[in-house]
Every structure is written in C-alpha cells, then in structure tokens.
C-alpha cells in the first residue's frame, strides 16, 4: 500500500533528517580515522555532536503533520514489547477472549508499573517480518477487542487500574473480521469502558488509527507521546477520498490536525508525554521512562478519587466532547432565512397519500 513511500531510505533516517545523517557520518569517519591513525579527534567529534543535537532539536521542534506521521511509523520506534520489557515488572500475559481465539495484535496481562499493580492492554505491531505477520501488523480482529474487554472486567472485579497502550494503523478490515462483528466488538468496548469501575489510563505510543485505537482508549485520561498521531482516518485514506489522490496524504495529515500538539490545543487529549531529542526511536529508555513517570503520576492522582466520582467525571469528559463544536449560530440562521425565501425541495413536501396508518 501507500506505506511503502514512508520507509526511511538510508539506515533509518527519514528524508527530512539529511543533515543529521551527514553529521553522524562525519563522526563515524572521524572515529574510524582516529582509531586507524591514533590521532585524537575528540574535540572535533564533540563539536559535531553538539551541532547534530542542535540540528535534531531544530528539525523536531518544527515537524509538519506528515513528518510526525512518519516518525510515529518509524521502524525503530519502541513498540509495546519494549514497554512491557522496560516498564512493567513481573508481567504475566493473560491470553484469549474465551469465545473464539487469542488475537496477537492486542496483548493483555497483569504486572506492576512503578509498584502499582495494574492490568495492561496494548496493541503490538511486531518488529521482524515474522512477528509482524503474527501480530497482523498491529491490526486487531474482533477477538482482540473482546479479549481486552474480558480482561478489563477481570481487572474491574479485583480493583486493578487499567493502562492501555495504543499503537495501531486501525482495526483489521478483513472478511473474517466482518463476519465476527468487528463493529459490534468495538461498539461494546466503547460502551463498557465508559462505565468501568476502575481508573483507566490510555496512552497513544505510536499510531492512533481511528476506531481501532478508540476501541481500547475510552478512559479517564488520554495522553499522547509527542510524535505519535491520533486520527479518525489514515492520511492516505483521507487524501484518497477528499483529494481523490492518495499521494496528497501530507495535505490530508495537515488538515486532520492529528498531532499531539494540535489535539492538545483543541482539548481532545489530556497530556503530551515528551520524547527525547530526535524522537522515541533515538532513545528507547528515556521514552519508556517518560511514559512510566506519567503513568505513576496519573495513577497516584486517580486512585484518590472515589470510584463513583471517577466514573461520573469520565462520563462527563466524553459526553462533553465536541459539544462546543456545535452551534445554533450563523450557518443555522443563514440557512433558515434562505429556506424561507426559496421553496422547499419536493421531497420535503408532506404527501398524505403515503402517510401510513
């Protein structure tokens, strides 16, 4: 698919990182040279390193929406398994939805994050080709959502807070997924998560692809890593429909306001978790540490709130979403006056002969 043109061309550098790549090549050459000839280039290396970091900061503080999408899809970006390995102590995976099977795109299990016993629900994309196929490239099937809900009910029963990590291009659009009720599985999750009687924290760590992401993201807090994205449709899909040209994805990405900064400004996410200089893929440990800090801090806040209050405020949080984006204002008035002056279309006319008794 259109994913091919996002792949970094040379050694994991994205096309807007050329200068950074040059600096790193220079450092590499100097290191080789000093090893071969025994000359000390450490001053030069330090100078280039400094420039490299300045350049990285410059590039990453001005990423366009489309560049952010590329960073979020970077092949070396930390995935769910990195978080499980580095952040979760004593992780035990719990398999299966008890109905159909065990989806590998959604992983669920118990473990400790900063000494808090929690249930973790996360989407996994896989690193190697083999893993990617097993994980279905991070596209869950209905059984994944049903597994997530089953484990969340378990967590609710025993008062374990739920932490969900979102990283999916979207729920899988396949024949089997439709046959087994992809839409129904997601719908039930949205409804049930809204009244789950334990704290629920959701963090978008990479791709937040539409309903597939939302299906495990209805919680008390929704945070995003700085260079992740969260969108109602993939930029390629949006471009194909509205621009009638999939290659206009950069324009679509811009228009969709899918970056953490835009969404935070619009009040659609609660927090932005900073990434290390040059993005999460340049420093996995710091990224995971930042996420861990956020989870620990937020859990400490939420666990003090009485559960009825928490569920009520979660309901209000989602109930009020977009309420400000509606109006009885100018467009509505304009329309009313236009319709008053022109005749109503024929379809709107009341035809008593077809009215049924």
């Amino acid at each position: 698919m259109a994913r091919e043109n996002n792949r970094p061309t040379n050694g994991g550098y994205l096309d807007f990182e050329q200068k950074v790549a040059d600096f790193e090549r220079q450092v590499e050459e100097l290191r080789k040279l000093s090893a071969k000839k025994g000359i000390d280039y450490s001053v030069e290396i330090r100078r280039i390193e400094k420039d490299r970091i300045i350049e990285l900061k410059r590039v990453y503080s001005n990423l366009t929406a489309w560049q952010t999408v590329q960073v979020a899809r970077h092949p070396q970006r930390p995935l769910l398994r990195d978080y499980l390995n580095l952040m979760v102590k004593d992780f035990r995976e719990l398999h299966g939805d008890r109905l159909f099977g065990d989806d590998r795109a959604i992983i669920t299990g118990i473990g400790q994050i900063a000494r808090n016993k929690v249930l973790i629900v996360g989407q996994d994309k896989g690193k190697t080709t083999k893993e990617k196929i097993v994980c279905n490239f991070g596209c869950p099937n209905p059984e994944g959502y049903r597994k997530a809900l089953a484990k969340m009910r378990f967590a609710e029963k025993y008062g374990l807070p739920v932490v969900t990590l979102i990283d999916t291009p979207g729920a899988y659009p396949g024949v089997g997924a439709e046959e087994r009720g992809q839409a129904q599985a997601i719908a039930v999750n949205l409804s049930e998560m809204s009244r789950l009687r334990v704290p629920v924290i959701s963090i978008c760590i990479g791709e937040g692809g539409s309903g597939g992401a939302l299906g495990i993201a209805v919680g008390d807090r929704l945070a995003m890593l700085e260079f992740s994205y969260y969108s109602v449709i993939s930029p390629e899909g949006c471009a194909a429909i509205l621009w009638r040209d999939g290659s206009r994805a950069p324009d679509a990405a811009e228009a969709l306001k899918l970056t953490s900064r835009d969404l935070y400004r619009l009040g659609l996410v609660d927090a932005i978790i900073p990434e290390p200089v040059g993005g999460a893929h340049r420093n996995v440990h710091d990224t995971v540490y930042n996420v861990e800090t956020y989870v620990a801090k937020t859990l400490a806040q939420l666990q003090h709130v009485p559960i009825d209050e928490l569920v009520e405020s979660r309901y209000q949080k989602w109930r009020s979403l977009g309420s400000k984006a509606t109006l009885q204002g100018p467009l509505a008035v304009e329309r009313a006056s236009r319709i008053a002056t022109t005749s109503r279309p024929a379809a709107a006319k009341r035809d008593t002969s077809t009215a049924r008794v």
Binding site: G215, W318, T326, Q328, A332, A348, T354
Partner: protein, 291 residues
C-alpha cells in the same frame, strides 16, 4: 378450463405484438425525474408509484435510500413529529480545508442539496400511538456522516428518552465518522456509546434500525448497541466498506457479503423488516418491553 369449446383457442391466442405508435422506452422529451431505474431489478418504474410504495420497488422489493424527512413521514403517525435542535450545525472545529474548498462550503452546499441542516434529525413522535424519541439519519448530507452535531443530537435524544421514560428508536444510514471533524468525530463514537451505557443502566429500550448503508464509525458505535437491532432487506451494513476490504486483502468478496441477510446469518441482527412492516414491528417491541 380445459372443457372450454373450440372458441377458446381464439380467446387464448395472444395478440401479436405490433407497434401501436407509442415507444416502450421513455421518449427524450420526457420530463426529468418522472422515471427511476430500480437498482435491484433494472426495471424502469414510475417515480410516483415507487413513492406511494414507501420508496420500495413494487416488483423486486428493493428498498431505495430515502432522506430523513421521507423516513420520518413513513415511520411516525401523521403530524406527530416534534423536532428537537432542528437548526444545530457544525462549528467546523478543525477549520478544515481541502482541494481549494472548505468544510463550511461543503456544509452549505449539502444543506441546499438535501434541505436538511445536518446528518441527523431527532424529535419526539408517536408510532402507532406509542410515544418514542426518534433519531433519523440523513444520507444526502455529507453521506450521513457522524460529526459533533450528530453525536450531540443523539446524546440529547438519549437524555430525553431517560427523562421522559420513552423508548428510543434510531434509524442509521451513514458513511461513518466525518473526516472533516477529525478526532472530534471519532470521539462521538465513544460519546454516543457512553450515553447508551447510561440509558441501558436505567433499563431504557433502544431499538436500532439499520438502513442502507450503515458503515464505519456509526456501525462501530450506537448502531450496534441496540437492545433490538432491525435491518432493512439487502441493506449494506459494515465496519470497513467492501471497497476498503477488497483493496486491502485483494480478493473477490463473496456474493451478498455485508448485507443485512449476511449479518443476520452471522448473529448481529435480530430481524430483517420490510419498510412497510417497520411501524408495526417497532410497536410490537414496545408493547412487549414497556409497562
């Protein structure tokens, strides 16, 4: 019959088809829009005959797509629909622009085209004398997509139903979440589902009617959360549309894939109901569930 005399042979003999001066095809100067071609059986039909038949093909039972106004007229007792939040429109939260035009322009154009203010109408009404809160989607307005207005209206309808202890009936007919409102639209899926969770806790009855087409974010939220889910015959009901699936997995899709019948076979729809029977089936469900 067989005992009829010799004269019967001349009676049963079909008159030879001769040209009688009138073409069987509609002539070129025929007023536009008087005829419609049925997508189900390819017959040319008189538009007024189809309309009298509730926009259903009299020969093959194909259910035409209809706008919210016509739908309400076919569904509720005459003159009982009291609209709520009629004039609510979108505030364009993302300031969305595309291909040299804007979302605001698109809204204006579609308001003119469909005569509707937004992609859903809600209100109170009676169906065969039973009071209900009704929500009906408008397929001609941005493909009946769900944005902030549809989500808000749906939630207001749910709250009205809770407040007045009425059953809620929603007719879905939608292309899914509205791209032009980005994550605001996406959030409406959670918002409507959360409202229904509340409604459910208070033992409210929600009858979800799926009309052609019900896809994407609407299917994956309130449309699939009905206590009872009804569907019109042959309606397309999907999470991912057939084209998306065909493009992704590159196989030919089976015949009848994602139709109402397919969904019923796989256990996701309770009943397939002809448009003419919708009123009586809804009334029956209300009688069985409400005190």
């Amino acid at each position: 019959m067989a005992m009829m005399g010799p004269s019967s042979t001349t009676m049963t003999k079909k008159p030879k088809a001769t040209w009688n001066g009138f073409s069987l095809k509609p002539r070129k100067e025929m007023p536009e829009g008087l005829w419609v071609r049925c997508p189900g059986c390819e017959h040319m039909l008189y538009k007024s005959a189809v309309q009298k038949n509730l926009d259903v093909c009299p020969s093959c039972n194909h259910h035409f797509r209809i706008g919210a106004t016509a739908r309400i007229r076919y569904l509720v007792d005459e003159d009982t629909f009291q609209p709520i939040l009629e004039n609510m429109t979108s505030a364009d939260p993302l300031d969305f622009q595309f291909r040299g035009t804007t979302y605001k322009d698109r809204i204006r154009a579609d308001q003119e085209k469909s005569g509707a203010a937004e992609a859903m109408q809600i209100g109170k009404a009676f169906i065969k004398g039973r009071g209900v809160v009704l929500g009906v989607m408008e397929p001609d307005f941005l493909m009946g997509s769900m944005g902030a207005v549809v989500g808000e209206k749906f939630c207001v309808a749910v709250e009205k139903a809770i407040e007045e202890s009425l059953p809620l009936v929603a007719v879905s007919c939608s292309g899914g979440a509205r791209m032009h409102e980005g994550v605001v639209s996406l959030g409406q899926m959670a918002k409507t589902s959360a409202a229904l969770a509340r409604f459910n806790e208070r033992k409210g009855l929600f009858i979800s009617v799926l009309a052609d087409p019900t896809t994407g974010g609407v299917t994956a939220s309130f449309a699939m959360l009905g206590d009872v889910i009804l569907a019109e015959p042959r309606a397309l009901i999907a999470f991912a549309g057939p084209r998306t699936i065909a493009e992704t997995i590159k196989i030919e899709l089976p015949e009848g894939f994602q139709t109402a019948e397919f969904l019923m076979e796989h256990g996701f729809v309770d009943m397939i109901v002809d448009r003419k029977d919708l009123r009586s089936e809804i009334a029956r469900l209300i009688d069985y569930t409400q005190k």
